[in-house]
């Protein structure tokens, strides 16, 4: 498993260290969904700083992670999307709606502490 999942208070931090295969993405989704219920997490942060590519499958899986986590009672924030990755995603018309994004872990934790912020974020 190339994703370390850390626990910070009632927030889970999944730090993706290398490009993931499709099956690894699915494994991450299952594991996060399982952990959210087990530790009664309020938030999930997925750190994709190390990713050079986010393709349509990865984007869909991130959305799936967020929806699954929400059903289990936790908000999800994706952090660390690189500039080139952001440009590529926009050009290929991939979006992460309704996922929240943040610049780094600090931001993500601030959003999760005060969910109101996410609502006015970006629009």
């Amino acid at each position: 498993m190339s994703v370390a999942i850390l626990r910070q208070g009632d927030v889970l931090v999944a730090s993706v260290q290398s490009d993931l295969s499709d099956s690894q993405v699915l494994a991450l989704r299952d594991e996060l969904s399982d952990l959210v219920g087990r530790i009664r997490a309020r938030g999930v942060v997925v750190d994709v700083t190390a990713l050079d590519v986010i393709d349509s499958f990865a984007a869909r899986s991130l959305r799936a992670i967020a929806v699954t986590a929400r059903l289990r009672g936790a908000e999800t924030v994706v952090v660390g999307i690189q500039p080139e990755v952001a440009i590529a995603m926009v050009q290929f018309d991939l979006n992460l709606d309704p996922l929240k994004t943040a610049l780094d872990l600090d931001e993500a934790l601030a959003i999760l502490v005060d969910p109101r912020q996410g609502e006015e974020d970006g629009r």
């Binding site: 952001a86 050009q91 994004t101 610049l103 959003i111 005060d114 006015e120 970006g122």
Partner: protein
């Protein structure tokens, strides 16, 4: 500059004292001794250490072309062909770093080489030599001026183009206060520049940890579907990185154009002018700080 060119081109090449038959003799002589004179010229160019950036083969082929043009110009009295050739040559050698003094030096060297060979040939007849030189000198001087002016004009054209490019490319991303950037866009936005601008902005968001970006397009004269979509994409990409964008300075013309084009800008947060945009940005930052983080 154009006026000068015309003047050079239109001026009579032959001096009033020159005898056409002498000029004809001169041209024949230069044609017959083409190989020797050309080699002598190359030797003197090499001795003077001019054109260091070119290989000997390149120098030799250019020299041959210039020599033939030179003789043709002496014969016909029209500098137009030579002028075109000089422009073309300049276009090729300027990017390689050939300097004005080298070009002028080379043309003057040819003048010296030819003059000296004339001295040698006619040294026993001072009167004939004088008349030959009367025919030769004005033409040679005018050729030197033509080549020099063509080179300088070409170089100025290159400089102007580069200045235009620089002016269009400069898009500073400025930090006004922590976590707040402004991006004033001035001039024409084409797709290449828009792409570069997006990259710069996203890089700056990352390095400054920006939370808000105010994109001011007061200086953009017109906007089309492509540019509008680029703006939307830039804002969307910034949002993926966790930063919000405010667009300011849409003129009424641009606003109407966008409505007419049917571009969907509901994604964008827009404010009338830069001042309003900054006030809005500050409000959002303060609000964010009060609620425990930054919005």
């Amino acid at each position: 500059m154009t006026d000068q060119t015309v003047r050079v081109a239109d001026a009579p090449l032959r001096s009033p004292h020159a005898d056409p038959s002498l000029l004809h003799e001169l041209v024949d002589y230069l044609r017959q001794n083409r190989t020797g004179l050309r080699e002598e010229w190359v030797r003197r160019i090499t001795d003077a250490e001019l054109l260091g950036v070119m290989t000997p083969e390149e120098i030799f082929s250019e020299v041959t072309a210039v020599y033939d043009n030179y003789v043709d110009t002496l014969e016909t009295g029209s500098v137009e062909t030579l002028q075109a050739y000089a422009r073309d040559l300049s276009e090729r050698i300027i990017p390689r770093g050939v300097e004005t003094h080298e070009v002028l030096g080379i043309v003057l060297l040819l003048r010296d080489v030819l003059a000296r060979s004339l001295f040698e040939k006619y040294q026993h007849d001072a009167d004939l030599l004088n008349r030959i030189l009367d025919a030769y000198e004005p033409a040679a001087n005018r050729i030197a001026v033509t080549v020099g002016v063509s080179f300088v004009e070409e170089r100025e054209r290159v400089i102007r183009e580069q200045q235009d490019a620089i002016r269009e490319l400069s898009t500073p991303v400025l930090q006004v206060r922590p976590r707040l950037l402004i991006l004033p866009i001035i001039g024409v936005l084409d797709s290449q520049r828009a792409r570069q601008l997006t990259e710069q902005l996203l890089g700056a968001i990352q390095s400054h940890r920006a939370k808000l970006v105010v994109i001011d397009i007061t200086g953009v004269a017109s906007i089309d579907v492509e540019v509008a979509n680029h703006l939307v994409q830039t804002v969307e990409a910034a949002r993926l990185m966790g930063a919000s964008a405010i667009i300011t300075g849409l003129s009424s013309t641009i606003a109407q154009t966008l409505v007419d084009l049917g571009v969907d800008l509901s994604m964008l947060r827009t404010v009338g002018d830069l001042q309003g945009g900054l006030e809005e940005a500050e409000r959002l930052l303060v609000e964010g700080a009060e609620t425990g983080g930054l919005a």
